[in-house]
Amino acid sequence: MSVVLGIETSCDETAAAVVDGNYRVRSSVIESSIDQHRAFGGVVPELAGRAHVTTLGPVVARALANAGLDAHHPAIDAVAVTSGPGLIGSLLVGLSAAKAYALGWGVPFVGVNHLEGHLFAPLLEQPDLAWPVLTLLVSGGHSMIVLQSGPGQHEVLGETIDDAAGEAYDKVARWLGLGYPGGPEIDRLAQRGDATALKLPVSMTGPDFDLSFSGLKTAVVRATEKHHEVALGDVAASFQAAVAEQLLRKLRHAMERYDVRGVALAGGVAANSALRAGVRSLADGFAVACHLPTLELCTDNAAMIAAAGLYRFGADGPSPFNLSASPNWQLVDVS
């Protein structure tokens, strides 16, 4: 049975995890430099890159120790690492480390697509899940609907034509004078707000599966300029409802079009309470399985990278040691 060490450093999370051949997580360690970025209202590439250099070694050491593996002679079969997409200066740290560990231990290494990693998260909780599965992948960097016919078999049905959903949350939060990142702040405020207080348009109501969020952000700005009296909680609730409605409407279209046995939520925005509730009721309505991975597996982590690496290593073999980072690597280009 294969055992893989996964490494993830594509953004502000520094993560390492050990996953075995049955997609069982033996350890998963996640550190984040997010506190350093708050003041800047977004992830600052140079700060993230510096943090990875000092944090990654100890994170890997803890992941090995938590999995009961020897630090210098770990019983692993490969090292998997995110080689894209992401911040180039951050990706390079993980990639350099992965190559060095593989070289030192005499095992192969494999470069993994970060987005494909997200698609493997549900398997870590349910290795025998029934295919096909429709996955809504939403995060600060990406928003897409993906049809998966099996592990590593995916077709992107539609994706955002402008901002990612998480980006829209951050921009609206900044406009409202809330902290960064915007998702948790808006979600918290929305709990006490009235979602019908502001009339916001639902974009992209057409039959295809593409998404769009920049118009919604503009609509929030216009509406709050016109109606100063609307409470912050009501704005947050209205915005969050409009985001969820667009995503769930598209997901419902896809469920109607494709005969699937499960629906899954992945990416950082999957932590959103409105979205989780909506996906669950959609799954119930279509009588299919609902895969809502725990928050630790939804947000960026290395267990999902190890899982995707396990599959890619089996399907395509190891990566060459001259592999470079691919900051713009699209999911459709993964094969």
Partner: protein
């Protein structure tokens, strides 16, 4: 003692090895910022050439800068991860001391100003006194080449300039009447291998950036908005 040396502080990517059978090989793998692509294959090839495996290494020495930020991250991460994987000793050197030793080992003596290209119109510079050995005069600092040149021309003392920061702003440096230029762009890994044999190992290494992260953050945030 088998020692591996790594240098990624400039646009070049270089590796070196000294074996306990007395062989020393130093190789510049690339000169065009392909640190990520070149380094690991270069290390493997060098080990193979010496009939060694990574497990045979006793020490890894790395140039922690100052220099190119991404290059330093690749080099320092590779060295520290490799040492962590093997459980072997880790030694750190600076790009500026390697330049000073490189000049020293080629016969240069007296006062030497080493300068590494720091981008944004600046160099990372430090002065050394070369005699029997090499002694640093002051700390490494960020400076504008014109200011360095004016200071030395005013001072009037004989000085030798070396490093890729000097090559980048060569016209400025050759204009100093009391100055000479020693052509050297890649920090000396021969020197790194020699130093590593006796220097006390460390538990961890961070790149020597010389500009603090907040300044860089403000800079890059401004850059993105404009």
């Amino acid at each position: 003692m088998n020692i591996l040396a790594i240098d990624t502080a400039t646009t070049a990517c270089a590796v070196g090895i000294a074996t306990d059978r007395g062989a020393t090989i130093v190789r510049v793998l690339d000169t065009d910022r392909h640190h990520t692509e070149s380094l690991a294959p270069g290390i493997l090839a060098l080990l193979e050439e010496c009939g060694l495996t990574p497990r045979d290494l006793h020490r890894v020495v790395v140039d922690r800068g100052p220099g190119l930020y991404t290059g330093l991250r690749v080099g320092v991460t590779t060295a520290t991860s490799l040492a962590q994987a093997l459980g072997c000793a880790l030694v750190s050197v600076t790009s500026l001391e390697l330049l000073a030793w490189g000049a020293h080992d080629d016969g240069v003596r007296a006062t030497v100003l080493c300068a590494v290209d720091g981008r944004r119109g600046e160099v990372f510079a430090q002065t050394f006194q070369l005699g029997e050995g090499v002694e640093a005069v002051g700390e490494p600092e960020v400076a504008r080449p014109r200011d360095v040149v004016i200071a030395w021309a005013t001072n009037g003392a004989p000085v030798t300039f070396t490093g890729d920061g000097v090559e980048r702003y060569l016209a400025d440096f050759v204009a100093v009447p009391n100055g000479a230029v020693f052509a050297q762009s890649v920090p000396s890994l021969h020197a790194a291998l020699t130093i590593a044999a006796t220097r006390e190992p460390v538990a961890a290494i961070s790149p020597l950036y010389l500009r603090d992260a907040d300044a860089v953050a403000n800079f890059s945030t401004r850059e993105r908005r404009s």
